[in-house]
């Protein structure tokens, strides 16, 4: 693992206004993530895991404090620059896969490359490579509705990995999968992490995921309660 800090979070707070006042989802987070980490943010529901991932992924902005991702301050990014950051450097994996329903497996995986305006040949090669890693070559022309949950999540991983992003943010990626599929997916992600040095950050409370992590950050009520490095 390289010792290069790619995410730096200082005094991060996130408040949401609610009918009765405001709800604090993150309450003073200080964290650093280094390149190539396979990290999980774990904690019970409502602990702020997803909010933290959303801010790192520039889908949301901090109320207070700083979140520097790949040298860019999330709070200072405008909508366009945030989109550019997500487009070129970040990959997302969601609990419910979020595949585009009318697109085939190939087209779903190709989508991030279309946004990067890569040429046809380059796109095709990258998509095929990505699908090969994930063992989905025989499903190229299938639509999401024709796939099992495990296959859908593998497509989502292929889509997140196809552009070889610096960071992959995975929000409860195994929540909708059975144990066998969960292990299969996690092994694949570990392999990708090792092969490409991609930083993976998970939001999870699934013990199966926790077993694969190299670093486990525990979050309770918007605060980091424990930050453990594991030696696998």
């Amino acid at each position: 693992m390289e010792n290069l800090t790619i995410i730096s979070i200082e005094g991060l707070k996130k408040h949401f206004s609610m009918s009765g006042g405001k709800f604090t989802a993150l309450n003073g987070i200080d964290l650093e993530f280094r390149k190539g980490e396979f990290t999980g943010v774990v904690g019970p529901s409502g602990s702020g895991k997803t909010t933290l991932l959303n801010i790192i992924g520039s889908l949301d902005s901090p109320s207070e404090g700083k979140a520097i991702v790949l040298g860019q301050s999330i709070g200072d990014l405008n909508v366009k620059h945030a989109a550019m950051l997500r487009r070129s450097k970040l990959g997302f994996i969601f609990q419910s896969y979020n595949l585009l329903p009318v697109y085939t497996v190939f087209e779903n995986v190709e989508f991030p490359l279309l946004l990067l305006r890569l040429d046809d040949e380059q796109r095709r090669k990258m998509v095929m490579d990505s699908l090969e890693w994930l063992g989905l070559i025989d499903k190229l022309k299938s639509k999401p509705a024709q796939l099992s949950g495990g296959e859908c999540q593998r497509v989502a991983i292929a889509r997140a990995m196809v552009k070889k992003p610096e960071i992959v943010l995975a929000d409860e990626p195994t929540a909708n999968l059975d144990a066998a599929n969960s292990h299969h997916i996690l092994k694949t992600m570990v392999q990708l992490n090792k092969e490409f040095g991609t930083t993976f950050i998970f939001a999870t409370h699934d013990d199966k995921v926790i077993g694969y992590l190299s670093r486990k950050i525990s979050l309770v009520d918007g605060k980091v309660t424990k930050d453990e490095i594991k030696n696998n």
């Binding site: 909508v79 487009r87 969601f94």
Partner: protein
Amino acid sequence: MKLLFKLAAKNLIGAGLRTWLNVIVLSFSFLIIIWHKGLLDGWDRQAKNETISWETGGGQFWQASYDPYDPFSLTEAHTKIPSALDSLVSTGNIAPILITQGTIYPRGRIQSILIKGISSNQKLLKIPSSLFLKNNDEIPALIGRNTAADNGLKEGDLITLRWRDIHGTFDANNIKIIGIFDTDIPTVDMGQIWVPLDHLQKMMGMPGEATIIVLNKEAQGSIIAEGWKFKNNEVLLKSITDMIKMKSVGGLVLYIILLSLAMLAIFDTQVLSIFRRQKEIGTYIALGMTRTQVVGLFTIEGSLNSVLAGLLAALYGIPLLALQASKGLSMPGGSKGFGLAVADKIYPAYSLGLVVTTILLIMLTTTIVSYLPSRKIAKMKPTEALRGKIQ
């Protein structure tokens, strides 16, 4: 932009039945708007052409006192035909017409009638005045099909005609119906009898005089006639133009209703689509699309409905409209009695301008209607969209 079009097309086709329902409704709108406008344009063109052929020619000189809406003006509305026109009259290139009031007695009833004397050798109007030349009867007369039907007259009938001459003396004689002509122009048919100009001039004691002079297009610029007012076709065809305009306004209501129905379908689909596809919208944003791009994507998706509708409308509409343009649309019996220039069959006229304008109008409206609900996307929080939580 190219990417957005590509994605929008894929999404639209992928939406299946929902898309095709919208497209079918919109294609009906396309077709009915073009058909209705084409019908009015065809009617307009036919009515004008027929009126020019039967009545107005290339323009008219009116005797200064002549007022077609005041029958009493006819007593004064007669003047010598300018001698400068003699050569044109003799060659039949212009048609002087003398007009007076009279009475006929068909089936024992009194019927007021307009007596029109027209030169027998005129070639300008479709009134078959050349029939006068082949006839030796004392007063040969032509009437239109409607006048014949209204008065129970047929070819060869003798009928008493009474008139008042220039001195105010009543006179009467039998006239013979030598021909019944068929025209779509009620203003040369209803309540009118056509006789040879020289006969009427003699009957009225108005030798060489006329009430109006119908000109051909070439003649009108070269003639200056004192005591006569020139009326061009813009004035003479005004009633037809006004009527078509009025019809167009009525048609506009139909367009608005049709277009509103189609647009309502698009608007509803867009609203529903944005509501149902929140996760997809969130995914687009997470994958790196800007909100403006997503708004653009949904707007293009909506707009492409009108492109597909145009293609579908062309597929079944072109043969349908072409068939009707060649076969014509039969008008209901009795429409002649409306006093309008209505042919038995109307041949719709579909101009390129009409088709292009309609397509552009519908595409523009569809784009606006697609954009309005899509603006909501710009206000969506991607984190909530991803979870499909926006209400």
